[in-house]
Symmetry: C2
Subunit: 408 residues, 2 copies
Amino acid sequence: MSDFQWIENGSVTATPGFLASGVTAGFKRSGAPDFAMIFSETPCNFSGAFTSCTFAAAPVQLCKNRVLNAPFIRAAVINSGNANACTGHTGLANAQRTAELAAVRLGITPDEVVVSSTGRIGVQMPMDLIAHGIDLGAAALSADGGENAVKAIMTTDTVPKAAAVKLELQGKTVTIGAMTKGAGMIDPGMKVPHATMLCYITTDVKADNALLAEMLTSNVNDSFNRITVDGDMSTNDTTIIMANGLSGVELKSGTPDAAAFRNALLAVMQNLARRMVLDGEGATKFVTVKIEKARSEADAKVLAESVANSLLCKTAWFGGDPNWGRVVAALGYSGAEFDPDKTNIWYDDQPVVRDGGDAGTPETSLLGIMKQREFTIRIEMNEGSAGYWVWTCDVSYEYVKINADYHT
Amino acid sequence: MSDFQWIENGSVTATPGFLASGVTAGFKRSGAPDFAMIFSETPCNFSGAFTSCTFAAAPVQLCKNRVLNAPFIRAAVINSGNANACTGHTGLANAQRTAELAAVRLGITPDEVVVSSTGRIGVQMPMDLIAHGIDLGAAALSADGGENAVKAIMTTDTVPKAAAVKLELQGKTVTIGAMTKGAGMIDPGMKVPHATMLCYITTDVKADNALLAEMLTSNVNDSFNRITVDGDMSTNDTTIIMANGLSGVELKSGTPDAAAFRNALLAVMQNLARRMVLDGEGATKFVTVKIEKARSEADAKVLAESVANSLLCKTAWFGGDPNWGRVVAALGYSGAEFDPDKTNIWYDDQPVVRDGGDAGTPETSLLGIMKQREFTIRIEMNEGSAGYWVWTCDVSYEYVKINADYHT
């Protein structure tokens, strides 16, 4: 299923026909890059998935409108440092104005521009900085600008997160490039991606908007919706896919080619999702929580997320404490119905709970697992045949420090 | 509505006819007191409310059985340092054996004894220590032993939490005494109390078990179920009320006397609930989250708990950050449906959000509120007339430290 190759240092500009840039417009007091643009030389089919937060930010509302009404897009404008969320009609007008300014500068129409923002909530967007960013960003657009673009969308991220793959379809090469940001305010389990996470994906395949939506939704559910850092969802989460068709490869729903493409796209999205957790605010551990043999996938999901979001589990992982009592407590209060006497739990390959009680593995055998950067908690409910997994991380002093000090 | 008086340094032994003790049986490596007993000189009507965690600990199962089947009880045996949870049939047999040992020592029957445990999950109870504790505890029972008893049930609590009130009914004096423990693994929103919280209440009123159950359930929903420290619920949560009838005051459901008694009982339970939050693991702030004008109480509850359990809100409170963006984000992802443009928010008396956007209060006016030990976040949804409130606290470095180091 891995009929694709990773492109080293790949990003959104790995895909032919896409230019990008990342510049300093002045949103961040630190002077770090804070403004990114993506530009396609030709019109792109596209789709998007967005936060389900009731307080969806103005740029999210603009993007949703594009997905519903625009046949294609050509550009994306992204700033970090200000979320343009809870900014009312002025905020919406500012997002729309951002699209207009970019359109004028790029010689396209406002409907061909999508906008994303991440950063502090509740502050009106300084439109002079937006105008400045568009001037600088448009001038800096280049076919190797992906690396700068991904740096410009970081907030509390400690490393830029971009990836690209290529695969052969119909005798031609198809490319998928992507960049993402997100380290905190990250929680799974919604219909759409969420967390202060932004993800932009470029590809040169030809696919209509409906097929792109179908693939994006399905893959988001198996990638970004599987990760949780802190159980908090953001107002601004956005994933956009843009497909310019330049490869000459056309995909139709239900074909093996579409399946191969979706598989490669999932690999890119899972790669980025994983790296978001690894870069989770203050995270020192990457933990896979895997539920098996549950009554239903809904139950399995509730159980997995209850453990993954338990503050007591997360702090125990930080402390390297093999204490499974907190894991069973989190299963027990999850709301899922099950017989606790049938529950088995493993840390990696070591049994820790057997039939709802201590499996007898000496704690010394478990301490080594808990010290690893990564481990898996596998939980067998023995209630049915459904499963679900999530990726999460621990909660450390550093998490508290970052979030007690940082003004979002 | 406060036709009662607080009894200074009151505890479970403030009520005539009740003896108590707190001794060191050896469960805690520190040598701190870890074993408490309550004994009533006469049979007591009683009721209880318990964790809804699927992995209910063995002593919880024993107590539930007493509530269902025993007409009265006379004694409670409580240990800290071992939860007797996830211990299977052996654990149940050990809880039953604990009741038997206590019954023999006290000259009553096992069915007259309830048992509670708090501490590490998944370790079989060292029954030699139980036997030792019962010997010491029974010998130490005294009419002023309440103070020792409350100290013996502490785990990560930093202060003992007991209270008592007296009130006049039918020309006679009625007393309510109570003790509680709980500082972490505390979360609201269940049908019953939860958190690793134990609460024992004594009173000398005469009331049948059905009326006691009615009053306890209603009051638990307005006290212990309103508090959250970390969103984690425990396997062992127990609240027991014992009524020996010695005051000669008999209560009937629906009478003004029953209402006055319930009101005084609620005051005791809210006092203890408040102090559990103030003593929350590592807590530096006490925060009331109050939802007003919601569509339904269920909505108001979901909204209040979403804010109270948001790790991003809790760390912002720790940092003294007036950042309301995290509050609206938590409302927005709560799952409740509402129009975000109608939301108003106040920190104490200062407006921070008006119609879903910045209310314009300068941050300097808010910093003073955030520095207080206590403040209220009042949120007006303008969607209906329902409300709900919860009490919660911040999450600090100390919370992480306590829970990364502590073996529950």
